[in-house]
Symmetry: C2
Subunit: 231 residues, 2 copies
DNA sequence: TGAATAGTGTCTCTTAGACAGTATCAC
DNA sequence: GTGATACTGTCTAAGAGACACTATTCA
């Protein structure tokens, strides 16, 4: 692997990764934004991301950026690829930049630790983030990432990625309510969550809060929800 | 936009596109394969694809390759992005190649017209294609593309993309049977296809074949199937 | 005792799956 | 008529949505 190609028979691109990081904070669906301090779009808000290095896989680059810009490790988030964005004019620089976008889901994540190439990073409610004038095509990427999370809640078990290792069924319901932006019937939700094979398993512990103590659960082995939970 | 960057501050990549083209031929789910004649993996079978040019969007590149290697135009197929593949060693050449893969679905497509950079192109049943020793990481891309088609049949209306403009309900059922590899009850399928709002609409014409004449349908406006049709 | 939270039970209507029969053509 | 294909109808059991009640704790 070399920095410069031996032949000029192919067009030259830069490859970046951008990450839609989603978590629940105070019952609200939030995403991580950074204020840019690089060579272009300086001062504007953007999704965390950066160039993929010559010697790392795409997924490794996404994890590295998560670590550098938000101090999040592999154990903290569920990461999955969203799509590649490569319109000719998506980057104002005079070379082509294709961005491979990712969605990262995590439980009530810590306040971000700004890295070298950002002035500031912060959690922003998704609705507010979409109001801000994000850099590049990041408004589109953010919309796509949120829609990905919304639809995958229906037929996969990724809702547990928004929860800590041990959680209550009402916590899980609040994930659905926050991501979908609508209330769900607690009784029907409880029945569905328990009847979906491999979705959640009892941990044996109980949580003592204000009212009746609640059973605690952990995520099960299943990846898909059968039957699905519909919006 | 220039061929060479003004700065060397970012790693240099090539960006390719590869296409999982799926169609039904004689009731079998088939994909288009080409025999490579380029600089690497010469003589091996691979998915059609090539480098993205400096002045075209990713989707434009996919349509261009479809046209050059299979004489398929925008009206012939439903095209959607699959994922980006960019492992460090996915290409044996000494520079990084990130491939943006696409899935193209079409109705009984014509025999391919080989283009300049292939010895031969042909439709191959998916099961057989997975047996062949495809170049690069194309076995993985093909598996992912087929799985994408399989799952999207359940909750979207893309099954109609495998049919010509006018089709019979049993034709549509055979699409599901071929892609899913399992038989479906004709009576229940008919009921579901007709009850899903916006899935199919009567064209008014009838088809006269061996038995009782059948009503003809066209695809409706809906993009999602409500309720879904389950495997 | 009352407020807060967790959990269970029941009813009804719709739908999914299984299955049998009828309709319309070519020959 | 016979064979082939298309289409319609019915039964039953399970699930979805709507809703009311009980349980356990703290203050």
């Amino acid at each position: 692997m070399v920095a410069e190609p031996h032949t000029s028979k192919y067009p030259i691109f830069a490859v970046a990764c951008d990450i839609v990081t989603l978590t629940l904070r105070a019952g609200q669906l939030c995403t991580l934004l950074v204020r840019r301090s690089g060579s272009v779009h300086t001062g504007r808000w953007a999704l965390p991301g950066g160039f993929v290095r010559q010697d790392e896989n795409l997924e490794q680059a996404a994890y590295r950026e998560l670590w550098e810009e938000a101090a999040l490790g592999r154990g903290d988030v569920h990461l999955e690829q969203l799509a590649a964005y490569g319109d000719v004019h998506r980057d104002p620089r005079d070379y082509r930049v294709v961005s491979v976008a990712w969605v990262a889901l995590g439980a009530d994540l810590p306040n971000p630790a700004p890295a070298t190439d950002v002035d500031r990073a912060e959690w922003v409610p998704v609705e507010e983030a979409l109001q801000r004038d994000l850099a590049f095509d990041h408004p589109q990427i953010l919309r796509d990432g949120v829609e990905r999370a919304r639809s995958k809640l229906e037929y996969t078990t990724i809702a547990t990625a928004f929860c800590p290792a041990s959680f209550r069924i009402p916590d899980l319901r609040r994930v659905y309510e926050a991501v979908w932006g609508q209330k769900l019937d607690p009784r029907n939700f409880q029945r569905k969550a328990l009847s979906a094979a491999g979705f959640i398993v009892e941990s044996g512990e109980t949580h003592h809060g204000r009212g009746r103590p609640s059973k605690l659960y952990r995520r099960g082995q299943a990846e898909f929800l059968t039957p699905p939970i519909s919006r």
